[in-house]
Symmetry: C2
Subunit: 392 residues, 2 copies
């Protein structure tokens, strides 16, 4: 049957990762592929307590419709926490979304006309690229070094692309590279955005998962004009199953996001928002995040030290100071997709890198997630992967 | 600051209802405005039981990411239930969404190029119209009589609009009119859709809330070619706070919806899906729906009999056999928005009708929801409204 879809349907691509995950979820596969958090970090007992309390004391409200903007006490908590990280924001400038992925989709919907330019890091988060693709933009990739996006290249791109609609960055413990943008660059990034009047979309799912005591101010903390749209999430610090993230932006911009949310799904799950608020009231969120951080730090240490022992010396990779990912560079001419095929024979999975480059190429990279598997499996998986790499 | 949004932003309008709800949620207001279900019908004790069990026995999976398509056991349950209503569908042709509103948004995203035509009932559900508007279609409204959309007008519209992308219908206990499309019309609707190769989007949130024993086969039950896309939800039969709805469609079409879901928010809340499944396993859903139905039937009876006593005789309204709404027609020249202003002085709220007409006009209609308020408040509210109407 010949049904006529919208033109944009041809641009909506399957997520390489989500499709791959189906393959890698066979029993026995050691998967460094997805961005799944450590299930050991989930506060299951606490969730039982707060579920009981919410249903007991506020059952009818918890199961009913609620406002599009989100549960007020949750918006308050988020605004307070953002203020502590140096951001000027009020609770009414927060919209609760279904994870930050929904904030990415809304950003595409609100900003992108077909053919507009989106500026992003090279490589960039594939889930964001796929969300934007539905609105048919062009992508201009900005090369990175160890300090993140190269600012001179960014300015060149802004000059050359008057139809640039926003600059998408994951500045802290980036997905997929694990890299963090330096503070001076963050300041310059905001200056350039203001100069060219192109908003920044700061996606910060990993910022709380720092393995050092260094304070890394969010890009939005340097924003005095409301040019930065900030996406946050509880998926990595609490759990992803509840699908709770947020958009923080100037009141003018936020109003557009609220309208997008109305049309998209009316509101985020009421019960889960209320349970999260009860958790935040009854337990110490800082203590909880500290525990999560320790789990990931230990796993980073185990994975990176095993890689040092097992990987051939000429294979390069990043050393992340937070978050969940390290980024591996193979010698030119080797395709990570071929390596994956081999390593799946040894029941080890990862994500080949080229899908993180919106304009393709760079087949010699891949991403490893050290967050999901426990230490024992990390060691075993990296050993097997080392064997595959040494045989190349 | 001059930020450049996408062109479609001008088309994304605030929901008249959601904006109105903010006004009507002041204490003391008797609201017949929103489409909120009766909170007395929510299974709070049962939810406590199933929350405990899910977190106890499957805590890690329940808080983790899960598949985009939805929790398998939930898709199975839905497919089985749809089969019982005469629809040929398999579990892998079901996508779980955040309420059926998300299915409406995806339908716009997947089908509408700017300027395409959407055919709908006149009047139609305003939340759907707003979701579609973000993709900038034209709306062609098909007049209704007591049997729903007039089929001869539909065929005329299909002939005249070769760029029609889908026919949007709420055929059973329609929002806003409470009307139900006759069975012969349903068959003809499917025939016309096949003839002109224009899919039907059947939105059926109220079908389970029938007050009679009459079996009303869904439009999709007459579909042998996969031309009907069906949207369902647990918002009215279970509770809306969990935001669980679904899309059921042919495998080819469903695949597009799954890709839209990936980009939009990855997946629906894992915990809530698992809790719902546990509820469906442990309790008798038919018994539960029967209870919900009885609540609404009683309220329909109370509201309609009070309207008969209190409303001036020349004011017409529909007599719904299910669902949550009756549709009131004032004499020509009277604007329901003015009536609302007056009735808010008496602390009674409803939704003026013109926003249900995508091309405007018809200011002399309004919608009453008898589902949310208890019987006592219904009587009191209708008495006050009768006073306002008699004073016109």
């Amino acid at each position: 049957m010949q049904i006529k879809y919208a033109d944009r349907v041809d641009s909506i691509k399957p997520s390489a990762i989500r499709e791959l995950l189906k393959l890698t979820q066979q029993p026995g596969v050691i998967s460094f592929a997805g961005g799944w958090p450590a299930p050991e970090s989930f506060p299951i007992e606490e969730m039982k307590q707060v579920s009981m309390k919410v249903l007991e004391e506020q059952g009818r409200s918890a199961l009913q419709y609620s406002t599009t903007e989100g549960y007020p006490a949750l918006r308050e908590f988020i605004a307070d926490r953002m203020k502590k990280s140096g951001i000027q924001i009020e609770a009414n400038q927060i919209l609760i979304t279904n994870g930050s992925q929904q904030g990415l989709d809304f950003s595409g919907k609100l900003f992108i006309n077909q053919g507009d330019t989106i500026i992003c890091e090279s490589p960039s988060y594939v889930g964001a690229l796929n969300a934007f693709r539905a609105y048919m933009p062009n992508f201009v990739e900005i090369p990175m070094d160890d300090e993140g996006m190269k600012i001179e290249d960014l300015e060149k791109a802004l000059k050359e692309n008057p139809n640039a609609k926003f600059i998408y960055v994951v500045p802290t413990f980036q997905n997929p590279t694990g890299k963090t943008m330096g503070i001076e660059r963050r300041k310059k990034l905001v200056q350039l955005a203001s100069k060219y009047m192109v908003p920044i979309l700061e996606d910060n799912p990993y910022g709380e998962l720092s393995f050092t005591d260094e304070y890394i101010p969010p890009v939005k903390s340097f924003d005095t004009e409301g040019i930065v749209i900030y996406l946050g999430t509880f998926s990595k610090t609490f759990c992803p199953g509840l699908r709770i993230g947020w958009v923080a932006a100037s009141s003018e911009i936020l109003r557009k996001y609220v309208l997008a949310k109305q049309g998209a799904d009316l509101q985020t799950n009421t019960l889960s928002q209320m349970e999260l608020v009860r958790f935040l009231e009854l337990y110490d969120f800082d203590e909880h995040v500290k525990k999560v951080r320790e789990i990931y730090k230990k796993r980073r240490d185990v994975m990176l030290s095993t890689m040092k022992e097992e990987f051939p010396y000429h294979i390069k990779y990043t050393y992340p100071n937070g978050g969940m990912f390290t980024w591996v560079e193979l010698p030119q001419g080797i395709d990570a997709a071929d390596v994956l095929k081999k390593s799946l024979e040894y029941k080890v999975a990862f994500v080949p890198g080229s899908s993180f480059y919106p304009n393709g190429g760079n087949e010699n990279h891949f991403r490893l997630n050290y967050g999901t598997m426990n230490e024992e499996l990390i060691v075993e998986g990296i050993k097997r992967l080392g064997k595959v790499l040494r045989a190349l």
